[in-house]
Symmetry: C2
Subunit: 359 residues, 2 copies
């Protein structure tokens, strides 16, 4: 017997292509600059905290269900960030948090807005919910458009810094435009650890803003899957209904707490990444690329004489993975994650060969 | 400023109470028999595999994103279970899998069916999706009702073994009733590792059945959050659109793979739990309880002369946590997780004190 599954699957899901994550080659020898992983290791204190779960109390901590709300993590994160534990929702990666927010706030048939070009997952989350995704162009200088052209959506997503541009929207502009939006704003701060400022104060001020955070980038823990939201306590209570009861495991809770507590390690890593980012931006400009100045751990660029696709293929042929970014209505570009000084030099040298040395 | 979040939250979410998981006391000294954790530790090979991720390659494996589809886990699980890797979807606990299935198959306004009394999370998942939950009583002997009273739902959930009863529905009955259902059936095998048979062959036969599995019970890894689905490859492809791209972390993937591979450890643990279950059932019957014979790692019972609530409170006062199960239209009962021989004896001795020795 064969079951025709098409008759059972929701039409919204059947019609979707699904989100395509960047390639994750699991073999060695590859210079991986395609999914904005940190080139430096996570805090040794985070690794140590996770080892302790496995070594001293492993059997017992893993045998039992973890803390549903992550109270110990929340206490530490609240102290570090200057908010209350009740403002924090834990997530199995910040994608889990974005899913929880969409399910809490967006009905089937609802409207989700995003700036463009931006993180493509937002459109996937809207489709999964059976909602409509509308995209709004950034204003000049990668700022929020003012006046806001489409008020009254169910949710607005703004990555700050944005991907692929690496640019940041100013908090004053957000404060001015927010009343025009008439919708909650998700300030997706996955890359904030490389940027000059956070929007946490908007949450503290009681504005309809949710800040989401990831431990995948600044804290170098992409493999651990941990993220969180900072939001008003009333919204946190609704999000807790939507999240899986045990969405974070005992090891990741311990590792995430220790990583957040080790701000010194974060600052050292951050300084090294920013130094390499400057080197990458200058090197790309020297090779004739048009470069958008970045506040994140990646650089988005185009070359006036070389197609993004051919540069992507040329780098891949030499075992360097970057991301080819294609947005309808925009010229193709490439997004290069900031690596170590050696990795950065290698991608610059290889690109020099591909574009024919300095232009 | 204060934001009124009620205006933004989906009415379906606002109206929900949210699922209440069993208490997870994190302090020592408690005999925890309330959430069906395994009293024995997980496979030492699983712990060793996770230690290797942290020790030898920790920084590198955690710095990078994990395998999105868990290919190595799927290859091992497929070999152990006698299915193809393309039949398997990985999940952050089997609750994640149940969420993915609901979102793949149930539209807002759709209908979800469950037998009752059963796992209360199914109703929560239906509410989150804005769907209607309808409950159907088990037929005599905890079998599927035949003929099936409510055909044409979007999804039917059947835990097999069921909680709280610990009973099992026969595969022949499922084969007969399935065409009458006219809906996909989720066979939730969270407790199958303590039962005599699995329904995997129904998936192999091409029937509209999805088998879901957990590593929280038989494999003693509740703290790790890992589960998976076994389904037709066509449905797997749709579920992969719905799941978060990186829903399982590098450590849990390694631990889950090693745990599945160590079937010898599972069989030893299983034999010990089943021996204690027999002792618990006989002891409860001796104390005058009405006991439903269980194929899982818990026992559901009632006492004709003592209210379930008072027994629950009496045990809690002596640091023994069990689960008070209340279903509308059913008498309250208690569900006791099978512990070690010592734990089992302790709960029996304490109950003997509460019910006034043998009845």
């Amino acid at each position: 017997m064969t079951t025709n599954w098409d008759q059972y699957v929701r039409p919204a899901i059947r019609a979707m292509a699904g989100y395509t994550p960047g390639e994750q080659p699991q073999t060695g020898g590859v210079l991986k600059l395609n999914t904005n992983e940190n080139p430096y290791p996570p805090s040794p204190k985070a690794l140590e905290a996770m080892r302790r779960v496995l070594d001293e109390q492993g059997a017992e901590r893993l045998r039992r269900y973890p803390e549903p709300l992550g109270d110990r993590f929340r206490a530490t994160a609240a102290r570090v960030l200057g908010v209350r534990p009740g403002n924090i929702v834990i997530g199995n990666g910040s994608d889990d948090i974005l899913t929880i927010l969409t399910r809490t706030l967006v009905p089937e048939g609802g409207r989700v807005l995003s700036l463009e070009p931006s993180y493509l997952l937002y459109g996937t989350l809207a489709s999964l919910q059976g909602a409509r995704m509308e995209e709004i162009s950034f204003a000049t200088g990668w700022e929020l458009p003012e006046p806001w052209p489409k008020p009254g959506a169910n949710l607005v997503f703004l990555p700050n810094p944005n991907s692929p541009s690496g640019t940041v929207v100013g908090l004053d502009r957000i404060r001015r435009v927010l009343p025009q939006m008439g919708a909650p704003l998700v300030l997706d701060e996955a890359y904030v650890d490389f940027a000059p400022a956070t929007g946490l104060e908007l949450v503290r001020e009681g504005l309809p803003v949710i800040v989401t955070r990831s431990l995948s980038k600044g804290y170098a823990l992409a493999g651990l899957r941990f993220g969180f939201a900072v939001a008003d306590e009333a919204l946190v209570r609704e999000m807790e209904k939507v999240k899986d009861s045990y969405n974070c495991d005992a090891i990741s809770l311990a590792g995430a707490e220790a990583a957040l507590a080790d701000q010194e390690w974060l600052q050292e890593t951050r300084a090294k990444v920013i130094a390499s980012r400057d080197h990458l931006e200058r090197g790309l400009a020297h090779l004739g690329f048009t470069v958008t100045p970045s506040e994140a751990n990646f650089v988005w660029c185009r070359h006036p004489r070389h197609a993004a696709r051919s540069l992507f293929d040329g780098l891949k042929a030499q075992n360097i993975f970057i991301r080819l970014m294609r947005y309808p209505g925009h010229e193709d570009g490439i997004r290069i994650t900031v690596g170590t000084p050696e990795g950065t030099q290698r991608v610059l040298d290889t690109l020099a060969g591909l574009v024919g040395s300095a232009a």
